[in-house]
């Protein structure tokens, strides 16, 4: 499909007086003096039918969750219930963030109830919905931890410990928060090495960030001891919610000793990923950290309305770190989160985890690839062995399925990190396993030549990075 700019580029010149020179494109009378305006704007000018076709065709060159399985380990691509789109599109949801509290009681109630839902699910005492993504949630957690330590006169704590197998965002969020990142090796079984942890912990420890189950899908069995160790040196325990879909109804971060956590709503509560976002990364904390959460949160007012209805209000936590988003986060995503939880309830959420774990175990059982660590929960990491994991992924595309996450965590050589989620049927898992196993039998030449059956064949990453062309203007300069 040609670029929009290859279909048309029209230059509109802007001036307070029409110079009558049509050669330069269309001129427009400006209400402002020329020194306050730009000279021209040059963009594609196309009709609705042309645009409908352009974007329809683009959509046909995308694999989505409605196309087939999407077993991206740690990324948790699950089916997005369609009805949540409808409720997010309700006209009553379209309110401005500066509306008075009295006039947006519906919005405030939904936010309040979602805070409450998430607190129960995570075992947390207080929740903020403001962070617009998981990484933003991590950053809030780090900032809250910093503010807590500072408040307690322990501003000297300057280290955050992160397992080497953790998500890249953990490192980056801690660093953005100004912390030195202490990397923690895994033990032979793929879990936190307690001796190494002991060695890493000190009076400078601000927090330990953990995912549980970890990125190998393994539950950190020593979590209670880990929590004690961290708390003993005065540190806080942070839960990365990326893998919460494995535990719903079986275990709660709060009960395990975590002090602060974020929720990835698209990973756990089925909001669509939208090709990269928007997401939402609410943060839950235990009581002692609640005063530091971002402002505002929502609470029920102690006095109900005259008619006895509850009244909701915004409030700033006592020692709030302030804002991490210009307004109150990704509202439309939060509506979908609320609707998903309200639809499934206790039983549905617990069943989602059970099915996700069963699916991962069943799929693993069918694979010819070696899976070095276990027992795993909702995801597992197979090893491509002599094959290059990235090539394996490219070849799987030829079998009409989306490949797993590859090459990570490094603890497994040529990692194939696989998470089918609860939404795949046995038939689909069998088909997916067949694709894995077909590729496992193929030689490296075949893998390197893959993919063959996709819209685009293997794309040259080196050329893209060496000679960055990041806009159609850059292409035009080329020619």
């Amino acid at each position: 499909e040609p670029l929009l700019s290859e279909k048309d580029l029209t230059r509109i010149t802007i001036g307070s007086e029409d110079d009558g020179n049509g050669d330069d494109g269309e001129a427009t009378d400006s209400p402002l003096p020329d020194d306050l305006t730009r000279d021209a704007l040059e963009l594609p000018e196309l009709s609705e039918p042309e645009l409908a076709r352009h974007y329809t065709r683009l959509s046909q060159m995308i694999y989505g969750i409605d196309s087939g399985p999407y077993p991206l380990g740690s990324c948790t691509m699950k089916y997005n219930p369609k009805f949540t789109e409808d409720v997010a599109a309700l006209p009553s949801a379209a309110v401005h963030p500066d509306r008075s509290e009295a006039s947006v009681q519906g919005t405030l109630e939904l936010l309040y109830r979602l805070q409450d839902y998430l607190g129960r699910i995570g075992g947390m005492d207080a929740v903020t919905l403001q962070p617009p993504a998981g990484a933003a949630g991590e950053f809030v957690g780090i900032r809250v931890a910093a503010a807590y330590h500072e408040h307690n006169g322990e501003g000297h704590r300057d280290e955050v410990i992160v397992p080497e197998s953790a998500h890249g965002t953990n490192f980056a969020s801690a660093a953005l928060g100004g912390y030195n990142v202490v990397s923690l090796p895994s033990d032979d079984e793929g879990r936190v090495d307690l001796e190494a942890l002991e060695a890493a912990l000190s009076e400078n420890t601000a927090a330990l960030m953990l995912t549980n189950p970890n990125t190998l899908g393994l539950f950190e069995r020593d979590i209670a001891e880990i929590a004690d160790m961290v708390h003993d040196v005065g540190g806080l325990l942070y839960y990365d919610g990326a893998n919460l879909n494995a535990l719903l109804g079986r275990a709660r971060p709060g009960d395990m000793g975590f002090d602060v956590m974020h929720y990835n709503v698209h990973k756990t509560f089925a909001t669509p990923h939208g090709g990269g976002g928007p997401g939402a990364g609410p943060v839950g904390v235990v009581e002692k950290l609640a005063p530091f959460l971002p402002a505002p949160r929502v609470r029920e007012r102690s006095e109900p309305s005259q008619s006895g209805e509850p009244v909701y209000e915004r409030f700033d936590p006592e020692h709030t770190i302030g804002k991490v988003h210009g307004f109150d986060g990704n509202w439309l995503v939060l509506i979908k989160t609320f609707a998903y939880i309200a639809r499934l309830g206790d039983d549905g959420l617990a069943d989602a985890s059970a099915s996700a774990v069963l699916n991962a175990n069943y799929l693993a059982e069918q694979l010819d690839y070696d899976i070095p660590y276990g027992p795993f929960h909702h995801e597992f990491v197979a090893s491509a062995g002599e094959q290059d994991a990235a090539d394996v992924a490219k070849r799987m595309l030829d079998y009409g399925v989306h490949p797993p996450t590859t090459k990570w965590p490094e603890i497994v050589p040529e990692a194939l990190m696989t998470e089918p989620t609860e939404v795949e049927s046995k038939d689909t898992l069998d088909r997916l396993a067949a694709a894995f196993n077909a590729v496992a039998d193929e030689d490296n030449d075949t893998l390197e030549a893959a993919p063959e059956r996709t819209t685009a064949r293997r794309i040259d990453q080196t050329s893209a990075a060496r000679n960055p062309r990041l806009s159609w203007q850059a292409l035009s300069d080329d020619s």
């Binding site: 609705e48 997005n80 395990m256 959420l349 099915s355 030549a449 990075a465």
Partner: protein, 460 residues
């Protein structure tokens, strides 16, 4: 032809404990499937697969009721139905422009809505192209060479601009200057973003809505890393001396960060022409309806800083058959590769909103975008003139040109005026004891007529 078999498709839930009687409606397993799968993994029950020590096992209930799809829709409709229906003359960084129907219909196609980040570009060409076109739109609007695929919103984009400035400026400086009048929320977000650095955020004075150039000059020194200004300003005034601000920043080797949005940029001075090093703002002014502050962080900068840019970038390359192909590029800047040395911690961004913005811009075309911007000036100034005729109201407060919104002085207490207007169906900002702010974006003419009548009634 496949034979047709009869199977037991009942779906008893996998869940065992408590009173569970129903499962997830989105997990497709039948009882027969479940039995076969458990057998395959050599387990009696699913619970056996959970390797969780008893001490940290959760045996309680969330006490969240399950509902049918219809009941859930009714619930959300009933909760949100408590929001009062108001004509919003609200702006200050979040706007409710009309979104053409085509935007919803195309962006809601499930291939766009339900796909993941384009880490496998060979099966994601369509989304990559759309994001590439979005980047190109911003390049044209800003005149800067590089635009990323999105930051969360205007405030977080501003935060990222400051950390970018900190990385690329070769000074030992640590001061970030922002106008004394800007949304407090943006400033607070910026402060959180720089909390882990040596940077401090300080304000410079404002003169009748716009930058007080003399005051800024006095504040600028070699210790300054970044100067931030907005156009239009938070009060809707149009800056007249952007070039001079850029020069002040350049003189001390500081970054000039300009806050704006795609509609304003369609008409107002081009950032590249006034020396901007980075442009931030909310691009969802196109593409998203009013959505309680949800946004799309616009982030554009100069080619010089390419390898320090935060967020995802889509570039052009070739595939194995030498055909043009799109791909995420320069990923070594990002957290999943560079971890704590990444240019930002951002991972999930606002890609789908960027798609919507690109489609909305394409529907308008350059003529439509310029027209929308012109109307932002003419309609705001026309409304200011009309309310200025009302007894008890003077507008605009600032003797400047205005874009989309303006501040009006009311003789009555502003909060009382706003409350009275609310009773009559209108929402306005209170920005001072006797100041209200009015925004025309997305408000039809008939509604503005009704508003003028309402203000006449309450302002006297």
């Amino acid at each position: 032809m496949r034979g047709i078999e009869r199977r037991d498709r009942s779906r008893p839930p996998l869940v065992m404990h408590g009173s569970h009687t129903t499962g997830s409606p989105y997990a497709p397993h039948t009882a027969e499937d479940r039995t076969a799968m458990l057998e395959a993994v050599d387990a009696e029950t699913v619970e056996e697969l959970f390797d969780i020590p008893a001490a940290v096992r959760f045996d309680g209930q969330f006490d969240i009721d399950a509902r049918t799809e219809r009941e859930t829709r009714r619930l959300v409709r009933s909760v949100l139905g408590q929001n009062d229906d108001r004509t919003e003359l609200l702006g200050r960084g979040h706007y409710g422009y009309y979104i053409p129907s085509l935007v919803d219909h195309l962006a809601d196609r499930s291939e766009f809505l339900t796909s993941y980040t384009q880490y496998q570009p060979e099966i994601s060409q369509g989304f990559l192209q759309a994001l590439f076109e979005y980047q190109s739109l911003l390049v044209e609007l800003t005149g800067l060479e590089i635009a990323n695929c999105s930051i969360y919103d205007a405030a977080t984009a501003l935060g990222e601009a400051a950390t970018l400035a900190d990385r690329v400026r070769n000074t030992s400086g640590h001061r970030v200057l922002v106008p004394e009048r800007m949304r407090e929320e943006r400033k607070s977000t910026l402060e959180n973003y720089v909390a882990g650095t040596d940077l401090v955020v300080e304000t410079y004075p404002v003169d009748d809505g716009n930058v007080d150039l003399a005051g800024l000059e006095a504040a600028v020194d070699e210790d300054v890393v970044m100067v931030y200004a907005e156009n239009p300003t938070v009060r809707g005034t149009i800056e007249e001396q952007l070039g001079a601000i850029g020069d002040l920043a350049a003189d001390v080797g500081a970054f000039f960060a300009l806050g704006s949005d795609p509609i304003a940029l369609s008409l107002l001075e081009r950032p590249a022409d006034v020396g901007a090093d980075v442009v931030v703002g909310d691009a969802s002014v196109l593409g998203l309806p009013t959505s309680y502050g949800m946004g799309l962080g616009l982030f554009a900068t100069k080619e010089d800083y390419l390898r320090q840019v935060p967020g995802r970038l889509v570039g052009v390359s070739e595939d194995a058959t030498d055909r043009r192909a799109f791909t995420l590029t320069l990923q070594t800047r990002e957290q999943h590769i560079r971890r704590e040395r990444a240019t930002s911690n951002i991972c999930t961004n606002q890609a789908w909103v960027a798609l919507r913005t690109a489609i909305h811009a394409a529907v308008l075309g350059p003529s439509g975008m310029v027209n929308l911007a012109k109307r932002a000036v003419t309609r705001a100034e026309a409304l200011a003139e009309r309310v200025d005729d009302i007894v008890g109201v003077q507008a605009p407060v600032h003797d400047r040109r205005h874009f989309r919104e303006f501040v009006a002085h009311v003789d009555q207490p502003a909060s009382a005026v706003a409350e009275d207007l609310e009773r009559l169906g209108f929402a306005v900002h209170v920005v001072g004891d006797h100041e209200i702010q009015l925004c025309v974006a997305g408000v039809p003419d008939e509604e503005l007529d009704r508003f003028v009548e309402a203000l006449e009634e309450v302002a006297r």
